[in-house]
């Protein structure tokens, strides 16, 4: 699910032209690694669309609760019902999409 297309860029413009979505996904990866103490995992090891739970990164229900707190701490988003977790936290991209949508709503 793409939010907006990338503008064509030259080598000088590379980082500043990353979409908000891409920056958000990068930030999320670092935050998740830190929050969940994923030693020996680097941000580049986590695919944007890789499942976070069960397979892929292999997170579990406790991690889901940790991610709920992460959303609150970093993005001021409250999830009252932990059952929403599996859907929102399916992948980095779905998380980023959820955050973006929530932030638009709050704005």
């Amino acid at each position: 699910m793409l939010l907006c297309g990338k503008k064509p860029h030259t080598s000088q413009q590379s980082r500043s032209n990353k979409t908000n979505m891409e920056k958000l996904m990068e930030d999320l990866k670092s935050q998740i690694i830190e929050q969940l103490n994923l030693q020996e995992v680097k941000p580049e090891d986590i695919g944007n669309d890789e499942p976070l739970f069960k397979t892929g990164l292999g997170l579990d229900s406790i991690d889901a609760l940790e991610l709920i707190v992460l959303l609150q701490q970093h993005y001021n988003i409250r999830i009252a019902n932990p059952e929403q977790g599996p859907e929102i936290f399916h992948s980095i991209r779905t998380m980023a999409a959820f955050i973006t949508a929530q932030q638009k709503q709050q704005a």
Partner: protein, 397 residues
């Protein structure tokens, strides 16, 4: 090998009563213990109903004849343990070889968490008196010393199954002739540590809980203490037994740190093991005091395990946590007292606020209080974090 182990008495203090008689009256009156937080100070005061013991620390200290600075966990423990001993009519405790096996999960945390406020910004801050009884075992010893018990003292902490495990260890001590009597059970007071801890797991109900109900959304924390007095067969002539501890088992779910396995493996093994030790079949059980916390996870796992073991003959069952809340380390002890009393008086306890049967289960809990039932054997379940599952079976003789 097995010397018979009898229950000669019991004592309870909980959110529904300051002693066993008051607890019983509350069941009769369908008066549950969940209210807005009154005694514990917390930012979540209005968010979650809890079943606190309806007395502040000064009142409890008076009742226990202990200093006001004593940990609430210890005060509750001493009050219930004394009631239990008194109910046996055995008299002077120093005349017997007595053990005290008490369970708790937080120890003196009620004081430690106050200490931490001053200690965190300044390593010299906070009064040492607040942490001298922090350890689980220190709380037990405060009570053992006050009771005059010296022969064998121990503390067990296996989360919500702690109290039940205390009875098992106590029974073993008697069977192995290490002591003749054991005051066994557990205690826990409500603390910010536990309240916040359970909140992070998102399993607290913002309404009074509905164990074993299809619409349940979590548990209510409670606090209290409950002890039975286990007595060796050698002293049978000196007591009027309420029941006999005829079987018990402890198994581990080994599935997840806090969640129960979907098919309730640990629960099933514990219940089956307890029946096997008692030499009983599932049909022999007349009533089950459920662990029944009211969480989505526990109730379905426990229910499925009961279905596996008991179908098609389901005994009456109920969760008394619908009245007392989840008293953690105390629950196994409190519910053992209720179970033993159930046999003595033929009681089936009600499960409060039950409306809708769980879709996974072909049975529903009892919703009315009754006495005079012909109960021969009763089971009490206690399942906790760390996969610790324990089940006790009591028999009339």
């Amino acid at each position: 090998m097995s010397v018979k182990v009898w229950i000669a008495g019991g004592g309870v203090i909980s959110g529904i009563g300051m002693n066993l008689e008051e607890n019983l009256q509350a069941f009769k009156d369908m008066r549950t213990g969940m209210t807005k937080m009154q005694y514990l100070q917390s930012v979540h005061q209005d968010a979650f109903p809890v079943a606190e013991v309806k007395a502040d620390n000064d009142t409890l200290a008076d009742m226990a004849r202990m200093p006001e600075t004593t940990s609430r966990t210890a005060l509750l423990s001493l009050i219930a343990a004394r009631e239990a001993w008194k109910s046996t009519g055995l008299g002077d405790i120093s005349r017997y070889r007595v053990g005290f096996v008490s369970a708790n999960t937080v120890g003196g945390m009620d004081k430690t968490e106050d200490f931490f406020k001053a200690f965190l910004p300044n390593p010299g801050g906070g009064r040492l008196q607040q942490v001298v009884h922090h350890e689980c075992g220190a709380v037990t010893e405060l009570v053992a010393d006050a009771l005059g018990v010296r022969h064998h003292i121990s503390t067990i902490s296996t989360a919500c199954s702690s109290g039940a495990n205390a009875l098992m260890y106590g029974a073993r001590l008697i069977r192995n002739n290490i002591v003749d009597i054991v005051i066994a059970g557990g205690t826990d007071s409500l603390t910010r540590f536990t309240l916040n801890g359970f909140n992070t797991l998102m399993i607290l109900d913002q309404q009074p809980c509905r164990p074993f109900d299809e619409t349940r959304t979590g548990l209510n924390l409670g606090e209290g203490a409950g002890y039975v007095v286990l007595v060796s067969d050698n002293l049978l002539a000196h007591i009027q037994p309420w029941a006999r501890l005829s079987g018990f088992a402890n198994a581990n779910d080994a599935y997840h740190q806090t969640a129960s396995s979907p098919d309730g493996t640990g629960n099933y093994l514990a219940m089956k093991g307890a029946l096997d030790m008692a030499g009983l079949t599932p049909e022999d059980i007349g009533y089950i005091n459920l662990h029944g916390t009211g969480t989505q996870n526990n109730d379905v796992s426990e229910g499925i395990a009961i279905n596996r073991l008991f179908a098609p003959h389901f005994p009456a069952m109920s969760s008394t946590k619908s009245f007392t809340g989840h008293t953690l380390g105390a629950s196994g002890g409190i519910e053992a007292v209720y179970a033993a009393l159930a046999l003595k008086e033929g009681i089936i306890y009600p499960n409060a606020r039950f409306r809708r049967q769980m879709k996974e289960l072909p049975f529903a809990p009892a919703t009315a209080f009754s006495t005079g039932n012909d109960l021969k054997h009763v089971m009490s379940n206690s399942f906790g974090f760390g996969g610790n599952c324990s089940s006790l079976v009591f028999s009339k003789e």
